[in-house]
């Protein structure tokens, strides 16, 4: 689906939040590395997609009525077989409907579970005065507690992406500490620049999170994505 088609569908449904499958598909088309994620609308589809994605897999609920997926029991990690996927699918639906009675369930997002890497966050928001702004930071505790993040205004030049990465306090973690391998800085730069290009091309995008992105010694991949678009 094109950006315009996804936008039209979201607006038709009165949504400003694109679901994970939509967001990842648009980002992937824009050259941003994201885990391949598909939408299953039945137990059988979920199992077939899991087989295709390769185990272990992750299942997440897709619902316009459920903002906090984990809290509703809508996320199942590290599923290693067809049977586990089938059981997880049913458990997700049951739990979500119990937590949010009457919730509209679009389906379940199926993706290969990417191996753990160094967690970073790449995001974008719209400042009322300066317009679209990119953000970069280390994920997890570094962003939650220390707010160790850097900002640049869109559009970005390559040096801006380099500086965003270099100026966070936790930068040495990306170089590899205590035997951890270094993160692929080039891949992180590319991710930042591709997201910046994407939001520049689509001014309807008001906010965006890739959280987390797993950075590896060779490459980086976003395992969750969230896109908020402007109201029509």
């Amino acid at each position: 689906m094109t950006f315009e088609a996804v936008l039209a569908q979201a607006r038709a449904e009165g949504r400003t939040l694109l679901n994970e499958v939509e967001a990842k598909q648009l980002l992937r088309d824009a050259g941003v590395p994201v885990t391949n994620t598909t939408l299953a609308t039945s137990r059988e589809e979920a199992q077939a997609q899991a087989e295709a994605a390769g185990y272990p897999v992750v299942l997440k609920v897709v619902s316009p009525d459920i903002a906090h997926k984990s809290d509703a029991g809508g996320v199942k990690l590290n599923l290693k077989s067809k049977d586990e996927v089938g059981a997880a699918h049913d458990a997700i639906l049951e739990s979500c409907l119990k937590h949010v009675p009457g919730a509209r369930i679009t389906g379940v997002a199926v993706q290969h579970m990417a191996p753990q890497g160094t967690e970073v966050i790449v995001g974008m928001t719209t400042d009322p005065q300066f317009g679209p702004v990119m953000m970069f930071g280390l994920g997890g505790i570094m962003v939650e507690v220390l707010k160790d993040v850097s900002f640049r205004l869109v559009p970005l030049e390559e040096k801006d992406a380099t500086q965003m990465i270099d100026e966070i306090k936790g930068r040495p973690i990306l170089a590899g500490v205590r035997g951890q391998p270094p993160a692929d800085i080039g891949a992180l730069k590319t991710a930042i620049l591709k997201v910046a290009e994407f939001v520049e091309k689509h001014p309807e995008v008001k906010e965006l999170d890739l959280n987390p992105v797993f950075a590896y010694p060779d490459g980086a991949i976003a395992v969750d994505a969230r896109i908020v678009v402007a109201e029509a």
Binding site: G123, T125, F130, V133, M135, G137, R152, E207, D209, R226
Partner: protein, 473 residues
């Protein structure tokens, strides 16, 4: 020089100036602008009430009771009339074809009052329709040292200013101008921009970045009206010349709804900082930092590395100068063996040290030729990228007062080394117990363009900012 064709060019290079609404016997605005008249400019007073202009003949200024009596276009006008009258004055200025006007008049939107907001709206509408260059309102207008147009009677009249300054605050504009002058920093052009409702800070930056006489741009800003335009103009300006941005006031945290993690982390101050780095601007937090950074930019050579030679007068100060520079991120490396060998030939080891920092009072003891020798040796050391040297008021003021030639010779030697070297040199002179005397000799440093700072920290931090700036180019 000027920027031909720029919309602000006439008002920034005025030949005809009018002061509207000044009153005797004080004549604050006419007196501010006397240098303009003395330099051959045409200065008019516009005051319709003859009772308000006692003794104006003594100033040699022609008063007209209506702007229509002025037979030529006004390049710049300073308007100091009651707010209710300001739209009528603006109408006359537009009819005259004036190049621009600073509205000292206040009581507009900044008051939050209905009438003030309404009157400001009227001014904005009229100015925008006529494409008129309205400075302010609620400002001190322009300070053009070369033309002799001033916003304060103490502001220096100089021909060779190199710094352009913009200030959202009238007080900071004046204070900066005066303190810069007292530090030997001359201004090319300065604007107190007030409410900036017609001309925004970006419009002035656009002029200053193209102005050949302006080598460095500085500004005091609290907030900007058009964020994107500011970003784009500032980024362009930073490509052309160093820009120092002193941001005042905590930016209000906009309480806006956000559905993303990124949005919840995007504090206005963090975005501002990111934008400053993106543009390549130098940021400062107060007047002193702003002045110090300009001083270092204008009169120290570009540092090519991070290794400083520190020359102090005593042991205690050797420790303190090292603390200050180390905290500002400078390295204080050992000299080369050959430097040690040469210094060792004459250095007085008793009460002195010739490691880095160099504790040299015991060796120099007022002998300027020894100072000359030490500076030559340190300057040539390949381990060193720059030099910071303490001058001690505590020890030397008595000698300098008794024999001013010693001070002059010392400064001449320093200047000769600065000229001959491609490494930066900065001097530190704490006034100690001699504040009045040290104040009286500062001009000797400024005339020679020797960058001098009142504390080790101020020197170290100013050089840090400048060094980081050049390294990022």
């Amino acid at each position: 020089m000027s920027v031909p064709g720029h919309r602000l060019d006439r008002m920034f290079n005025p030949k005809v100036v009018a002061v509207v609404g000044d009153k005797g016997p004080m004549y604050m605005w006419l007196r501010n602008n006397m240098p303009f008249k003395e330099k051959g400019g045409t200065l008019y007073s516009v005051q319709l009430d003859p009772a308000q202009i006692p003794g104006i003949e003594a100033l040699g200024v022609k008063n007209v009771t209506s702007m229509s009596e002025i037979p030529e276009p006004i390049d710049y006008a300073l308007v100091a009339v009651p707010r209710q009258v300001s739209p009528f004055v603006l109408k006359d200025l537009i009819a005259n074809g004036a190049g621009g006007a600073g509205f000292f008049t206040s009581g507009f939107a900044e008051t939050g009052e209905e009438l003030g907001i309404k009157l400001q709206g009227q001014l904005v509408e009229m100015a925008k329709e006529a494409n008129f260059n309205l400075v302010g309102p609620n400002c001190m207008g322009l300070y053009l040292p070369k033309a002799g147009v001033r916003f304060n009677a103490d502001a220096p009249v100089t021909d060779d200013g190199r710094v352009g300054f913009l200030s959202q605050s009238g007080t900071h504009g004046i204070m900066f101008s005066l303190v810069a002058g007292a530090n030997g920093i001359g201004l090319s052009r300065c604007a107190s921009i007030g409410n900036a409702v017609v001309l925004d800070v970006s419009d002035y930056i656009d002029y200053l970045m193209q102005d050949d006489e302006t080598e460095v741009i500085g500004m005091y800003v609290e907030g900007v009206r058009n964020g994107r335009k500011f970003f784009e103009t500032l980024r362009e300006a930073c490509k052309r010349k160093p820009v120092i941005v002193w941001k005042g006031g905590a930016t209000e945290a906009g309480s806006r709804a956000t559905m993303s993690h990124t949005g919840s982390l995007a504090a206005p101050s963090a975005i501002w900082e990111g934008m400053m780095r993106q543009c390549g601007a130098i940021t400062t937090q107060n007047l002193d930092e702003t002045i110090d950074t300009m001083k270092a930019l204008l009169s120290a050579k570009k540092p090519r590395g991070n290794r400083m030679a520190l020359l102090a007068q005593t042991g205690g100060q050797s420790v303190s100068i090292t603390d200050a520079f180390a905290r500002a991120g400078w390295e204080v490396p050992a000299f080369t063996d050959s430097t040690y060998a040469t210094l060792g030939e004459f250095f007085n080891i008793i009460g002195g040290s010739f490691k880095n920092p160099l504790d040299m009072a015991g060796t120099v003891q007022g002998k300027t030729e020894t100072l000359d020798k030490i500076l030559s040796i340190i300057e040539a050391d390949p381990n060193i990228d720059g030099m910071a040297m303490e001058l001690s008021a505590m020890f030397a003021a008595r000698q300098w007062k008794a024999n001013p030639a010693v001070l002059d010779t010392t400064l001449d030697i320093i200047k000769a080394h600065m000229n001959a070297s491609d490494k930066p040199f900065v001097a530190i002179l704490h006034p100690a117990h001699e504040m009045e005397y040290i104040g009286s000799i500062m001009h000797k440093f400024h005339e020679r363009e020797i960058p001098v700072f009142q504390s080790f920290e101020r020197a170290a931090n100013a050089m840090r900012r400048v060094s980081d700036y050049w390294a990022s180019r």
